[in-house]
C-alpha cells in the first residue's frame, strides 16, 4: 500500500520532470545546431554524432569524435560538468587535451545553461558503440602537450564585446556568431602555430585551399551583402549573391538552416552592425570596355558557363547562381573563383525543394590561359575587380589542386 501511494504521489512529479526534460532536450537540439556539432561529429553516411568526420588541417587529418552517449566510445560517462569543461576548456575528464579543431576557444564563451541543454540533448540520443578513427598528426602536432601549450597561450584571448550601446539583436548575434556558431574559427586568419590571429578577427581565413572570406561589415557590404540577404543565405543556402559551397555547405546543412529567422537576423545584424554600410551595387561592364584578356574570356564563358549561368550572367533559378551580383566574383583574391572553375562543385541538396546540380570542373578542358581569361572576364564584367589573373596564377592553383586531398 505504501508503495502504491508513493507511486501515485510521484506520478505528477515525474510527468512534470519528463516534460521539463523534453523541453530541455528540445532546447539542446536547437543549441547543438547553433553550435554546429554535427558538422564535425556526424560523418557523411554515418549515424548522428558517432564521429568519424575527417577534418583537414594543415598539420594532418583530425577526426571528429563520437559524442553519442555510448559509455566506451562516446561521452556516456561524462557528467554535465565534464561536458561543460570539455566544451569550454578543451579538456576531457581524463585530463586529455582536445585538438583545437574542437573550437573550444569559441565555445569558451558558451553559457553554462546552454552547454547543459546540449548535454541533455546528446545524452538522449542513441548510443553508438563504435570508435571514431584515430587522429594522426605529424610532429609536433601529435604531441598533446603541444596542444595544451597552444591552449595556454590563446584560450582566453577572445571576449565578447558586451557594449550596451548595441541592440539586443546585435548582442544575440554576437553570441551566435562568436560563441555558438564559432564563425571565426574559419573566417579568422591563423598564425603559423595554427591559432587564430585574433588581431585580425573575422578578416577572412583559409581552409583546404579555399578562402573563407572576410565577415567584417565593410567587406560584406563591398561584396554586395545586406542584412536580409545574409540571413536568407544562411537559412536557404542561396541568395542573389550566390549559394553556399565548399566548407560552408555543411554549416548551412547541419546548422544555419535550422535557426530561427530571429537568430539569423541577429547574426546578420551583428556581422553588418546595427547601422550596416550600404551594400555596393555593381553594374555589369560592357564587353567593349574590358581588357583584352577578359574579352578573350567571353567565348569560354559562352562555351562552358552560359548553359547554366545564362548568356548575360543572369543565372537560372534553382539551377545555377547568377554571375551578375555574385559575391565570389567580388573577392579581391581570385582563389575561390579559380578553384571552383578548376574543381567544380558537387551536387547538393538544399533546404526545401532546392537542389543544386553538380558544377563540373574545367581543369581538364580549359588551359591556364583560357581559365585566366575567363576569370578576368567574370571579375571585370560582374565583380568590380581588375582582370589581373595571370596564367601562372592558374598554374599555381592547379598544382595545389592536384595535391589537395580528394
Amino acid at each position: 500500500m505504501r508503495r502504491l501511494l508513493i507511486g501515485i504521489l510521484l506520478v505528477p512529479g515525474l510527468t512534470a520532470q519528463a516534460a521539463d526534460d523534453e523541453s530541455l532536450i528540445e532546447r539542446g537540439r536547437y543549441l547543438a545546431r547553433t553550435a554546429d556539432c554535427a558538422a564535425c561529429h556526424t560523418a557523411e553516411g554515418g549515424a548522428p554524432f558517432a564521429g568519424g568526420v575527417p577534418i583537414a588541417s594543415p598539420f594532418g587529418t583530425i577526426y571528429g569524435t563520437n559524442i553519442t552517449p555510448d559509455p566506451n566510445y562516446g561521452i556516456g560517462e561524462y557528467s554535465a560538468d565534464d561536458f561543460y569543461h570539455a566544451l569550454t576548456e578543451g579538456e576531457t575528464p581524463s585530463g586529455r587535451q582536445l585538438y583545437p579543431a574542437m573550437p573550444y576557444t569559441s565555445y569558451h564563451l558558451m553559457r553554462r545553461e546552454d552547454a547543459d541543454a546540449i548535454y541533455a540533448f546528446l545524452m538522449s540520443r542513441e548510443p553508438i558503440a563504435r570508435a571514431a578513427p584515430e587522429t594522426d598528426l605529424s610532429f609536433p602536432y601529435n604531441q598533446r602537450w603541444g596542444v595544451a601549450f597552444w591552449n595556454l597561450i590563446y584560450a582566453d584571448a577572445l571576449e565578447p564585446d558586451a557594449s550596451s550601446s548595441q541592440s539586443s539583436a546585435w548582442q544575440r548575434g554576437q553570441y551566435l556568431v562568436e560563441a555558438m556558431g564559432h564563425c571565426g574559427e574559419c573566417h579568422t586568419p591563423r598564425s603559423w602555430t595554427g591559432a587564430m590571429d585574433l588581431d585580425r578577427h573575422l578578416e577572412g581565413g583559409s581552409l583546404a585551399g579555399y578562402r573563407a572570406p572576410s565577415l567584417e561589415a565593410e567587406a560584406l557590404a563591398e561584396r554586395g551583402w545586406n542584412r536580409d540577404d545574409l540571413a536568407h543565405f544562411l537559412k536557404h543556402g542561396m541568395s542573389p549573391q550566390g549559394s553556399v559551397f565548399n566548407e560552408m555547405f555543411p554549416v548551412m546543412h547541419h546548422s544555419t538552416q535550422y535557426l530561427t529567422d530571429e537568430d539569423l537576423s541577429a547574426m546578420a545584424t551583428y556581422l553588418l552592425g546595427d547601422t550596416p554600410p550600404e551594400a555596393r551595387r555593381i553594374e555589369p561592364r560592357p564587353l567593349e570596355t574590358l581588357s583584352d584578356s577578359a574579352r578573350r574570356g567571353r567565348q569560354s564563358y559562352l562555351d562552358t558557363c552560359a548553359g547554366c549561368h545564362g548568356g548575360d550572367g543572369q543565372g537560372k533559378p534553382q539551377v545555377a547562381v547568377a554571375m551578375n551580383g555574385n559575391t565570389t566574383l567580388r573577392l579581391e583574391d581570385p582563389t575561390n573563383l579559380l578553384r571552383v572553375m578548376l574543381d567544380g562543385i558537387e551536387a547538393r541538396d538544399f533546404p526545401g525543394f532546392a537542389r543544386m546540380q553538380e558544377m563540373p570542373g574545367f581543369a581538364a578542358h580549359l588551359s591556364d590561359t583560357e581559365l585566366a581569361d575567363l576569370g578576368n572576364y567574370l571579375r571585370e564584367t560582374w565583380g568590380g575587380q581588375p582582370g589581373d589573373i595571370a596564367p601562372e596564377d592558374v598554374a599555381d592553383l592547379r598544382e595545389d589542386s592536384a595535391h589537395a586531398a580528394p
Binding site: 537540439r29 556526424t42 560523418a43 557523411e44 553516411g45 554515418g46 549515424a47 548522428p48 558517432a50 542513441e126 553508438i128 558503440a129 563504435r130 545564362g310 548568356g311 537560372k316 533559378p317 534553382q318 539551377v319 551536387a347 526545401g352 525543394f353 532546392a354 537542389r355 543544386m356 546540380q357
Partner: protein
C-alpha cells in the same frame, strides 16, 4: 441525376468531320523508322517463330535514327519547305489575379516574334478547341488564369537563331505578364464524385444484397462545390438512397464494432508526380496553302483521337483545311501523352505559321510547367477485421483527388482508384467514395497507375500495419483474405479467370528474403551502427483496359507469304510493335514481316459511332446496334496496359481468320491433291491438329507445307488472304455472326473485312451483334494481373537516406508474348515505383512546376543507384497452359514495390509512414523528432 462524365477516353462525339484524315506514308529514308518501323538491314533477323531476338525497332533506336516526332524538322519532310519556324507558349504563372496582357518590350526589335497568337485570333478565325480540353486554351485578357502556367499566347519566330535568343531572354522572367485585380483562385465544382457500395451475400458466392453491378454506382448532389449525400437515407428510397443507407449502416458498425473486431483507421497521401517521359511534348505542323493540307508530326499515345479532334477544331475555321496528314512518331508517355492538350497548341502554331512549318517543342522546364501529372490522392481508410478468423469485414475508403487546373481524366482516375482500393482482398462489405477536385495546380491526367497505384499501395501499407497490430504474420493475414476465383470485387463483379495470388504468397513466404528477414536485420544492425535494416512485402493486382476497348488490326499475307500487320496501337517503348508482330506466329507460323503501328486509316471497316459507351442506356445501345456499321467506340489510345491483351485480341483474331479461312483450306487442298483425296484421305483431318513446325504447316502426319506455298495457293484459290477487324470490349467482348464462305461463325468482333485472293477488302455484313450489357460498366473491372514484391533495404540513421539493397518480384500475366519485354516492364515499373515511394516530390502550387523553374536537378528521378540494379530478381509465373491469354502488366508492376518499401521501412525503423514519398527529411523527423 445527371451522370457525370466518366469516360476515360470519351473523345468521339460523332463521326469525323468533312476533313479527310490520313496517315500518309512518306518516302524519305529518314522516315523508315518513323512511319514504317522496319529495321532496315536487320529486318529478317529480329525474330524467329520461336521468339523475338530483339525489339523490331531496336536497330533504328540504337543507332540514333529519327524515330521520335521530336527528331523531325521541316527539311526531313518530303514536300515541306526547308525553313523551320519555331514557337513557344507564353504562360501566366499566377492564378489569383486577372490576366491583363503581356509585355515583350524587353526583347530587342530584332527578336520580336514574327507572329503572336492570342485568344482573340482564335475567336476571330473560328478556331475551336476540343471541348474536353476547354475552356480558354489561350486565356483572354480580363480573366483569372485557371491554373499556374495557363497559356496566354503562342509566339512564333521564322528562324531558329532568333527564336532561341528570344526564348533565352524570356524564360524564367516573371515580369512579362501583366496582372490586374486580385480575384483569388477560380472556384469550380468537382470534376467528378462517385461512391461504390457493396453488401455481399451470405458467402462470397451468393448474390449481393447491394452492389454497383447489381444495382448502381452512387452519385452525390453537389452543394458549395462539395459532394453531399442524403442525411437520413432509407431502404425505401430510390436506388441511390438505398446504397447510402447501406453505407451509413457500415459506418455505424465501424463506429461501434463487435468486441472481437479490430477497426483500423489511417490517412494516406500520395505525391504530385511528373511522368518525366524523356521525350517532351512536341508537334511540328505545316499548313500547305496550295492544297489546304495540314501536315502534322506529333508525339501522342492516341493518334486517332488527335487526328479526329484536330479535324473537328478546324471545322468552320477561316483556315481552309481540306485534308489532314497526321504523322505520329514512336513515343513515350506513361499516359501523359494520352488526351493531351499540347497537341492542339501545336496545331494552332502550325495554322498561324503563315505558310511556314512551325515546331512547338517543350524543353524540360516547360514540360514540368505544362505536362500532365499524376494525381495526388488523400485517402481516409478504415478496415475492420475479425480477430478470431482474421477475415476482413468492412472496408471504408473515402478519398479526395487533386485534378489540377483542367478537367482531364480526373473523374475517371478517381473512380478507377476507388474501385481498385480493395487490392487483392475479398471484402464482404465496402463503401468507397471518391471525389476529383479542380485546383490551380498544373493539370493531372492519365499516368501509369491511374489511381490504382495510389490506392492499392495504401491498402498494402494498411494491411501490413494491421497485421502488426493483430500480431500475425503479414502474409498470413493476406492469405486469409485473398479474393479467390469466383468471389466478387467491390463492385460486385466476378474477375476473369483463375486468380493466382495465393501461389505468389506461398512463394514469397518461402523466399529467404522474407523467411530470414528478422535475423538478417538484427545481425546487420549489430555489425553496422550507421544503418537500420528492414524487409517488406506487398502484393497487388491491377486491371488492364478501360471498359471500352476498341482494338483494330489487319493481317495480310501476300502471294509470296510475306505477312503484313497493321495496328492502331502505337509503340511507346513498351514493345507493342514487337509483341504484336509475334502474335501472328500461333496462326501463321512466323512473325509478321512488316508492321505499321499507330495506323489511323481503316476505310475498309467503314464504322461509325455515336453515344458514350460508358454512360449510354441499354435501350440506346439496342437501338444503335441495329445499324450494322455502328460501334460503341471507334478506337482506343495506347494506354491502360491495353496492348498485351486487347490489341493482341485484334491481331490474333485477324490472323486466325486468315488461317482458318485462307491457309487451312489451302493446305487441305494441297494435301487432298490426287485421286481419292490424295495423302489426306487415309487420315482424318481436323483443324485442331494443325501445327506449325519450323515455318511449315502440318496436321495429322501430313507433309509439312511452307508458308509461301500455302499463301500462293490461298491467293490462287481466292481464299481469305487478309482480314481487318475491329472489336469492342466492355469487360466482355462484343460478338456477331459473320458470313464467310458457307459458314456464319460467331466471332468476338464487331466488324470484319476480308480480302479474297488478290481482291480488295470486302466488308462482311455482321448479323446478330451482341454488345455487352451497359450494366457491365458498373463492373468497372474484371481483368486483373497480379504482382508481388519483396524489398530489402537500409536506412541511414544520420541522413535518413534509404538504400534499396535487393528486391524480388513475381508477376502473373498469362502467357507472355515476349518474356524479355515483360521483364523490362517489370524492372522499369519497379524503378518508377521507387521514385513514387521515396524520391519524387513537388509542391502543388506557387512553388511547384507551374512556375516554370522545375527540372530534374530538383525533381529526383530514380537513378541506377536507387534501384539495386545488380541485386534484383523476378519470375514470371508459368502460364496454366499455352492457351492462357497474354495479360496487361505495364502498370501493376510498379505498385507492390511502393507498399513493400514502406512496409520495409516499418520493419527497419518501427515507424509507419503514410505520406509519400518517404523522403530523408520525413525519415529524419520520424527517427530524431
Amino acid at each position: 441525376m445527371k451522370y457525370p462524365r466518366l469516360s476515360r477516353r470519351a473523345f468521339l462525339k460523332g463521326s469525323a468531320t468533312g476533313i479527310g484524315i490520313t496517315v500518309a506514308p512518306l518516302g524519305s529514308r529518314a522516315f523508315a523508322a518513323l512511319f514504317e518501323p522496319r529495321v532496315t538491314a536487320a529486318r529478317d533477323q529480329w525474330a524467329s517463330p520461336s521468339g523475338a531476338h530483339f525489339r523490331i525497332d531496336a536497330i533504328s533506336k540504337v543507332s540514333g535514327a529519327k524515330v521520335f516526332a521530336r527528331d523531325i524538322r521541316a527539311r526531313d519532310m518530303p514536300g515541306w519547305p526547308q525553313q523551320q519556324s519555331h514557337a513557344m507558349l507564353l504562360k501566366a504563372t499566377r492564378a489569383d489575379r486577372t490576366y491583363q496582357g503581356f509585355d515583350l518590350s524587353l526583347l530587342d526589335d530584332g527578336l520580336q516574334p514574327d507572329r503572336i497568337v492570342t485568344s482573340a485570333d482564335l475567336e476571330q478565325d473560328g478556331v475551336g478547341f476540343p471541348e474536353s480540353h476547354g475552356p480558354d486554351p489561350l486565356l483572354p485578357e480580363g480573366k483569372t488564369p485557371l491554373f499556374l502556367g495557363h497559356p496566354v499566347a503562342i509566339l512564333i519566330w521564322h528562324d531558329f537563331a532568333r527564336y532561341r535568343a528570344a526564348k533565352n531572354a524570356l524564360q524564367f522572367r516573371d515580369d512579362l505578364i501583366r496582372y490586374g485585380a486580385k480575384t483569388g483562385e477560380v472556384e469550380r465544382p468537382p470534376y467528378g464524385s462517385f461512391r461504390y457500395v457493396r453488401v455481399g451475400g451470405e458467402t462470397p458466392y451468393d448474390p449481393d444484397v447491394f452492389s454497383s453491378l447489381k444495382d448502381s454506382d452512387l452519385f452525390p448532389t453537389i452543394k458549395n462545390r462539395r459532394p453531399v449525400w442524403p442525411d437520413d437515407p432509407s431502404l425505401n428510397g430510390d436506388i441511390g438512397e438505398q446504397g447510402v443507407y447501406h453505407a451509413r449502416r457500415m459506418q455505424d458498425t465501424l463506429d461501434d464494432p463487435p468486441d472481437n473486431w479490430e477497426v483500423f483507421q489511417a490517412r494516406y497521401t500520395t505525391p504530385y508526380i511528373e511522368p518525366a517521359a524523356l521525350e517532351p511534348d512536341n508537334g511540328n505542323g505545316w499548313l500547305d496553302p496550295d492544297t489546304g493540307t495540314l501536315n502534322f508530326v506529333v508525339a501522342t499515345q492516341c493518334p486517332f483521337e488527335s487526328a479526329h479532334e484536330t479535324a473537328r477544331m478546324l471545322e468552320g475555321s477561316r483556315f481552309d483545311v481540306r485534308h489532314l496528314n497526321v504523322h505520329p512518331g514512336y513515343t513515350v508517355g506513361y499516359g501523359s501523352k494520352d488526351h493531351n492538350i499540347f497537341v492542339y497548341y501545336a496545331v494552332i502554331a502550325a495554322l498561324y505559321g503563315d505558310g511556314h512549318p512551325v515546331r512547338l517543342a517543350n524543353d524540360r522546364f516547360e514540360q514540368f510547367q505544362s505536362g500532365i501529372k499524376r494525381h495526388p490522392f488523400d485517402m481516409d481508410y478504415r478496415l475492420a477485421v475479425d480477430r478470431d478468423s482474421l477475415k476482413f469485414q468492412i472496408f471504408r475508403a473515402h478519398m479526395d483527388v487533386n485534378g489540377g487546373g483542367r478537367a482531364n481524366y480526373s473523374a475517371s482516375v478517381a473512380a478507377v482508384g476507388a474501385t481498385a482500393a480493395q487490392s487483392v482482398y475479398y471484402l464482404p462489405r465496402s463503401d468507397l467514395a471518391t471525389t476529383a477536385y479542380p485546383s490551380r495546380a498544373v493539370e493531372a491526367g492519365s499516368m501509369r497507375g491511374y489511381g490504382t497505384l495510389q490506392t492499392m499501395a495504401a491498402t498494402e501499407m494498411m494491411v501490413d500495419e494491421l497485421a502488426e497490430r493483430l500480431d500475425v504474420d503479414p502474409i498470413e493475414l493476406r492469405r486469409a483474405n485473398v479474393l479467390e476465383a469466383g468471389m466478387k470485387n467491390t463492385q460486385g463483379a466476378i474477375p476473369g479467370g483463375a486468380i493466382r495470388v495465393g501461389e505468389m504468397l506461398d512463394k514469397a513466404e518461402r523466399h529467404p528474403l522474407w523467411k530470414e528477414r528478422t535475423e538478417r536485420r538484427d545481425k546487420r544492425q549489430a555489425e553496422d551502427p550507421d544503418h537500420l535494416y528492414g524487409t517488406g512485402f506487398a502484393v497487388s493486382h491491377k486491371d488492364f483496359g478501360t471498359g471500352a476497348e476498341a482494338p483494330m488490326a489487319s493481317v495480310e499475307i501476300d502471294a509470296e507469304g510475306r505477312i503484313r500487320l497493321r495496328q492502331i496501337a502505337i509503340d511507346m517503348g513498351t514493345g507493342t510493335a514487337t509483341s504484336q508482330a509475334m502474335n501472328v506466329v500461333d496462326f501463321l507460323g512466323r512473325p509478321a514481316d512488316d508492321i505499321k503501328t499507330g495506323e489511323t486509316d481503316w476505310p475498309e471497316l467503314t464504322l461509325e459511332t455515336s453515344g458514350n459507351p460508358y454512360t449510354m442506356q441499354q435501350a440506346e445501345q439496342d437501338r444503335l446496334s441495329r445499324n450494322p456499321r455502328w460501334t460503341p467506340r471507334l478506337a482506343s489510345p495506347s494506354s491502360a496496359s491495353n496492348s498485351a491483351y486487347y490489341s493482341s485480341h485484334a491481331t490474333r483474331e485477324a490472323a486466325r481468320l486468315v488461317f482458318r479461312h485462307g491457309l487451312w483450306p489451302a493446305a487441305l487442298s494441297i494435301w487432298g491433291q490426287g485421286i481419292y483425296g490424295g495423302q489426306a484421305n487415309p487420315y482424318v483431318m481436323r483443324l485442331e491438329d494443325a501445327r506449325w513446325v519450323e515455318g511449315h504447316l502440318t496436321a495429322s502426319g501430313m507433309t509439312p507445307i511452307p508458308l509461301a506455298k500455302l499463301a500462293a495457293k490461298a491467293h490462287e484459290m481466292g481464299l481469305v488472304t487478309a482480314a481487318s477487324v475491329h472489336a469492342f470490349n466492355r469487360w466482355s467482348w462484343a460478338s456477331a455472326e459473320f458470313p464467310l464462305n458457307d459458314e456464319a461463325p460467331r466471332l468476338p468482333l464487331d466488324a470484319v473485312a476480308v480480302k479474297y485472293g488478290d481482291d480488295d477488302y470486302h466488308l462482311l455484313d455482321r448479323r446478330d451483334v451482341r454488345y455487352p450489357d451497359v450494366q457491365l460498366n458498373n463492373a468497372h473491372v474484371t481483368y486483373y494481373s497480379p504482382v508481388a514484391t519483396l524489398v530489402d533495404l537500409r536506412v541511414n540513421k544520420g541522413s535518413g537516406e534509404v538504400e534499396i539493397l535487393e528486391h524480388y518480384s513475381w508477376v502473373e500475366c498469362g502467357k507472355p508474348i515476349v518474356p524479355e519485354l515483360v521483364k523490362g516492364q517489370l524492372e522499369g515499373g519497379i524503378a518508377m515505383g521507387i521514385g513514387h515511394a521515396l524520391l519524387e516530390e513537388m509542391p502543388l502550387y506557387e512553388d511547384g512546376p507551374g512556375n516554370g523553374t522545375w527540372n530534374v536537378n530538383r525533381y529526383q528521378l530514380p537513378l541506377a543507384r536507387h534501384c539495386a540494379v545488380w541485386k534484383q530478381g523476378s519470375e514470371i509465373l508459368p502460364p496454366l497452359s499455352d492457351t492462357d491469354p497474354a495479360k496487361g502488366m505495364g502498370e501493376v508492376v510498379m505498385i507492390p514495390i511502393v507498399g513493400a518499401i514502406v512496409n520495409a521501412l516499418a520493419h527497419a525503423t518501427g515507424q509507419r509512414f503514410r505520406d509519400l514519398p518517404v523522403t530523408p527529411e520525413r525519415i529524419k523527423e520520424a527517427l530524431h523528432g
